[in-house]
């Protein structure tokens, strides 16, 4: 087997893809995002973009998704296309005894059959099996969960593939099952507890908090309780439990003046329903040991890494791996999902032919990632006289399904998000994520926060009703203001602005006139009830270990080229990143490579353990300038607007300071007496870009093209590559470039000198044409900061006006209005689209979407959109909705990630509005017509 460095086999990931003519009218373009692209034609008008950078190929139906790709679209691949069928267990109560090929006539037997026997023989196994689950279920064992993969059937032609699929799908005899088994007791995937006891005031140091002390992690191997014994004099975990016990005792026996409320909310099991089903197409060339994969994924870098490991320890040679991520969509459903590994597996057994594994909707429902159902119980103490929250205890119980995946992390994020926009002097939040036989739940949009924040938002409305306080006013009184600590004891970044949203909501005619409108509507529409509900939450963005790489380069003829780790999942991050260069370079990127996995210009390595590394280990490894805590992050957690933009902005800033500013000075200082600059005080911080020209004070405006040409002529720096890392704070580092001290919120840097550079400098550019600059000093956020869990928030408030048919129980949304704060918007149209789309998805969660967990659920392979109702245009008040974004605080107020928060408050607003309409509280979603009808009966 050929031994490879990571760089060695990933470096060709961005190969070009060409068109294949099928019929003369058009050409079949394979415009996967890893192919280099220029700005679209006529993209910019009056300094603003007119449409998405990926808009034209998308609107004309070109091959942008992995699912569009066939072998003949890929240069260098054979023209033949094989097809794979992934069979999954549809029951878990009997032993699996193998695939029943007898249901297939002789001519429909697969050309290749891959079962556990084959992969065991060939030493192929899932990388990180504890995380993803086993590759294939062995015969003789009971399925661990419904939908567990058991075999791959490969056909070398489509006609037989589709006929075989018809014979096998929905066929109870397709798989052989043996003896019944008792469903096993499964250990939970994880649990955690966040105890915070504040000081006498919000400003005072906490008496105990996760950030200052510890997060408590559950141990399910011990006795009756997974939590450590309480001991006020013990270690941090024991002290946490002592504080928690005292808090719970106080809630049991509250002081005079407190009212204690109990709340419960049960969130359902949901499919993200990404319209592109999980899929991929791959070719393993056994002669060269080369594996080529086209796949829809939100985590291409991880996929490449894990596929490499999967294949390298097998009998299959691997000398080259090319992974092409298509434009895709996922809402988390393709984030660390397992399908890419089955695509790779299919190729390995494809007998040298390209194999396509594209799930149909039934199979996608059966195996793709779901949203965790979470049962949340809360106890909240409120001071009756003031309405101020005093103490909160909450216990969350989530169902993670059949494999662990990100379940423990989702549970933790759910618990730490529960507080929403509110402040609590003390709190004890616990979460447990159970294993089950349901298809896997993992990283769906919201990552647990929808479930927990909606739970608390419903309780707030109940408390407001009981206390006779306006629900918006109660929220306002209990706001987490700037500088206050969250339930982990961390102070959030910057200004907390949810109060401004509440102010706007409270003054809106929809709120102030709701009583009159209710009276009028119900008078005009007998049999209907009218209600208005409101909710306001703030959600974190980022994963707590955000890493990015960006390369920016200016060409002698004045173009700006970008390479970026960002991949497109529909939100518009590739469009946005092309614009983020404007502030420092006065220009949008002209040519881009996205979803880049190969970074020869910045040779880095990492063990990718940013959450679990010890402080000592981090300190030691940080001495190596090539080490970083993580190479890059998946596309998830609303992370591009802030974190990727930061990386792009830092790269642009450094390219300006090290290159273009020096080029500008060379113009301005030409001539006797220091040239035109001689009589002036030239200040770098006075420089700005106007209409493509660099201006500074009274100095001659200089066009970008002249500066680029001069930078190359003089051998100044014309390219930079940066790496950034954020653990709820930015890593910062200092470098020395050509004797000049350079610092930034980055942790690795390479530079490239222009064409006029001397031989010595050119000789130094040995890393993909760049010269790596070893950092002289680096400050990584301490590992303890993992316990902050969240410090970056974006708030949204949503108000919903709806009617309830008292006969059928059906809810009709009449209108809704949202207010959002997200810093400076990069592309306002994309932000608006995110808000509108998130609200639609939230409406689906609130009113329609639900899956049974087990035998009747998606794991049985019979679910599709005919009985999984998604919201349509008519369901979302498409003509009567409004959205407002409040103004940023400054021109440099950074953009915030809002792709998840937008879908959350509408859920609780709908529940609260249904209460307003019917007088009935609902503690379980979705609020289906049947459920409402039953309660109203």
């Amino acid at each position: 087997m050929v031994q490879l460095s990571r760089r060695g086999f990933l470096k060709s990931a961005a190969s070009s893809i060409v068109a294949v003519h099928v019929i003369p009218l058009h050409k079949a373009l394979a415009e996967l995002q890893s192919a280099p692209q220029h700005q679209p034609p006529n993209w910019i008008r009056d300094g603003k973009i007119r449409f998405r950078q990926d808009g034209i190929p998308k609107v004309t139906g070109n091959k942008v998704f992995a699912i569009d790709i066939r072998a003949r679209d890929m240069p260098g691949w054979p023209d033949t296309q094989s097809h794979a069928l992934l069979l999954r267990a549809d029951r878990a109560d009997r032993r699996f005894e193998g695939v029943n090929l007898a249901v297939l006539p002789e001519d429909l037997r697969p050309d290749a059959l891959v079962t556990d026997a084959e992969v065991q023989r060939d030493n192929v196994s899932m990388t990180e099996e504890d995380f993803y689950g086993r590759l294939l279920l062995p015969a003789g064992e009971a399925p661990r969960y419904l939908g567990q993969p058991v075999a791959l059937l490969i056909y070398h032609d489509y006609a037989r593939f589709r006929r075989a699929r018809r014979r096998l799908q929905f066929n109870p005899d397709a798989l052989k099952y043996g003896d019944p088994v008792k469903l096993p007791d499964l250990a939970p995937y994880g649990g955690a507890r966040y105890v915070r006891i504040g000081g006498d005031t919000p400003d005072a140091p906490d008496r105990f908090s996760p950030l200052a002390d510890t997060t408590v992690f559950a141990n399910f191997d011990q006795g009756n309780s997974p939590w450590p014994p309480a001991d006020p004099d013990g270690d941090a975990g024991a002290r946490a439990m002592a504080h928690a016990a005292a808090l719970r005792e106080e809630l049991q026996n509250p002081p005079d003046g407190w009212s204690v409320y109990k709340g419960r909310y049960r969130s359902q099991y949901v499919d993200p329903a990404a319209l592109e089903p999980d899929n991929g197409n791959a070719w393993y060339d056994p002669d060269k040991g080369a594996l080529h994969i086209v796949v829809g994924t939100q985590s291409p870098f991880t996929n490449a890494d894990h596929i490499e490991k999967m294949v390298k320890r097998s009998r299959f040679d691997l000398s080259e791996l090319r992974l092409h991520p298509g434009y895709t969509v996922g809402y988390g459903q393709k984030e660390h999902h397992v399908l890419p590994y089955y695509v790779a597996l299919a190729a390995l057994y494809g007998e040298g032919r390209p194999v396509r594994l594209a799930l149909d909707r039934y199979s996608h429902f059966q195996g793709a990632i779901k949203r965790h159902p979470i049962d949340t119980e809360m106890t909240l103490a409120v001071e009756r006289e003031t309405g101020l929250f005093q103490s909160l205890a909450a216990d969350l119980r989530a169902n993670g399904g059949g494999t662990k995946n990100f379940s423990p992390s989702v549970g933790q994020v759910a618990a730490t998000a529960l507080q929403g926009i509110h402040y609590f002097p003390k709190s004890d939040l616990s979460v447990q994520v159970d294993a089950s036989r349901a298809p896997n739940a993992a990283s769906m949009r919201g990552y647990g926060t929808l479930q927990s924040m909606v739970a608390f938002e419903l309780l707030v409305d109940e408390v407001a009703g009981d206390l006779g306080i306006d629900p918006i006013e109660l929220r306002r009184r209990n706001l987490m203001h700037s500088g206050m600590k969250n339930t982990q004891g961390a102070i959030p970044a910057g200004t907390m602005r949810a109060g401004e949203l509440l102010d706007a909501a409270q003054a809106d005619p929809l709120w102030t006139g709701r009583a009159e409108r209710k009276q009028q509507f119900e008078s005009d529409n007998p049999g209907y009830r009218y209600g208005v509900g409101v909710s306001c939450v703030q959600k974190d963005y980022g994963t707590g270990a955000e890493a990015a790489l960006v390369q920016l380069e200016i060409t002698p003829d004045g173009e700006l080229h970008m390479r970026h780790v960002a991949s497109e999942i529909g939100c518009g991050s590739t469009t946005s990143q092309m614009l983020m260069t404007q502030r420092h370079l006065g220009r949008y990127a002209d040519r881009v490579d996205f979803a880049v996995t190969d970074w020869p210009s910045l040779p880095l390595h990492s063990r990718d353990q940013p959450y679990t590394i010890s402080q000592e280990d981090q300190d030691r490894r940080a001495q190596d300038p090539h080490w970083v805590p993580r190479i890059t992050s998946p596309r998830s957690a609303s992370n591009s607007a802030y974190y990727f933009s930061h990386a792009t902005t830092e790269a642009a800033r450094l390219l300006f300071e090290l290159g273009l500013w020096q080029a500008a000075l060379s113009f301005w200082q030409e001539g006797i007496g220091g040239g035109q600059a001689g009589p002036l005080a030239v200040r770098r911080d006075e420089a700005e870009w106007r209409d493509g020209h660099l201006v500074a004070g009274a100095l001659q405006p200089l066009p970008f093209a002249d500066l680029a040409r001069r930078a190359h002529e003089r051998g100044l720096i014309t390219g930079v590559t940066v790496h950034t890392f954020n653990r709820w704070a930015w890593a910062t580092a200092e470098f020395e470039v050509d004797g000049t001290p350079v610092s930034g919120a980055i942790d690795a840097l390479s530079v490239k000198w222009g064409e006029g550079a001397d031989a010595a400098k050119k000789a130094r550019m040995s890393d993909g044409g760049y010269a790596f600059q070893p950092r002289r000093q680096v400050e990584y956020p301490p590992v303890q900061r993992n316990n902050a869990s969240v410090v970056y928030y974006a708030p949204v408030a949503t108000m919903v006006e709806l009617s309830v048919n008292t006969g059928s129980g059906e809810v009709q949304i009449l209108s809704h209005k949202s207010w959002m704060e997200c810093g400076n918007m990069i592309v306002p149209e994309l932000v608006s689209g995110q808000l509108q789309g998130g609200i639609a998805m939230g409406i689906g969660h609130a009113l329609y979407e639900e899956l049974p967990l087990y035998e009747d659920g998606p794991g049985n392979g019979t679910w599709n959109f005919n009985r999984y109702r998604l919201p349509r245009a008519r369901d979302v008040a498409v003509w009567s909705q409004q959205g407002e974004v409040i103004a940023p605080l400054s021109a440099t107020d950074p953009p915030k990630g809002i792709a998840e928060v937008v879908m959350i408050p509408v859920v609780s607003a709908i529940c609260n509005a249904v209460h307003d309409a019917t007088g009935k509280r609902f503690h379980e979603t979705p609020l289906t017509a049947e459920r409402i009808k039953e309660v109203l009966a």
Binding site: H21, L25, H26, G55, F65, Y158, R872, A873, V878
Partner: protein, 189 residues
């Protein structure tokens, strides 16, 4: 047992395709994707529910939208269809030289995000616009008509607003599609 085959000829985007011997139970979507490599028409559910696979059938009575995933080639035989690849004007090499009015409006309005459903929306909106050419609608009814025409199409990303606004604007700004007083220009806000 071998499959029963059918000789099929149809028009796709104005060009004759076939005759081809196809399984008689093959769906139009499969034919487009697996035989003709026209993959812009997308598979979403295979049930005709989500309309990601919607294409235009140019019927004698005018354009109508059909879900290609449940439209058999046996029925499609001898008929004429337009897929998303056929809406824009292209040069001889297949490069787009001009988008259709609906495509341009979707682009201008930032109507789509992931775009998986976009071909279906292009088909539905285009068919609506073409129907209105022979049966104009009152301007005050345009929003209702657009909602009715596009309600079959599922979009998971956008919340529908920008698709519907774009379609409304095309209708309001195209002479002959509406009755009643014409404003100087109607656009989405």
């Amino acid at each position: 047992m071998s499959e029963r085959m059918l000789s099929v000829t149809m028009q796709i985007n104005g060009e004759k395709v076939g005759p081809a011997d196809l399984p008689e139970d093959l769906m139009l979507l499969e034919y487009l994707q697996e035989y003709l490599n026209l993959t812009g028409t997308r598979y979403g559910c295979g049930q005709g529910v989500c309309h990601a696979c919607a294409v235009i059938h140019d019927a004698p009575g005018g354009p109508e939208v059909v879900p290609a995933c449940i439209t058999g080639v046996a029925w499609a035989n001898g008929r004429s269809f337009r897929t998303v690849e056929g809406h824009a004007t292209r040069d001889i090499d297949g490069n787009v030289t001009q988008l259709s009015a609906v495509q341009q409006a979707f682009l201008d309005h930032f109507s789509f995000q992931c775009s998986y459903c976009t071909p279906g929306f292009v088909a539905a909106a285009t068919a609506l616009v073409e129907r209105l050419q022979s049966a104009p609608v009152a301007r005050e009814d345009v929003e209702d008509v657009v909602l009715e025409a596009l309600n079959d199409n599922i979009c998971r990303c956008t919340g529908y607003v920008r698709y519907l606004e774009a379609t409304r604007d095309v209708i309001l700004n195209t002479p002959g599609l509406t009755t009643g007083q014409v404003a100087s220009r109607d656009t989405a806000t």
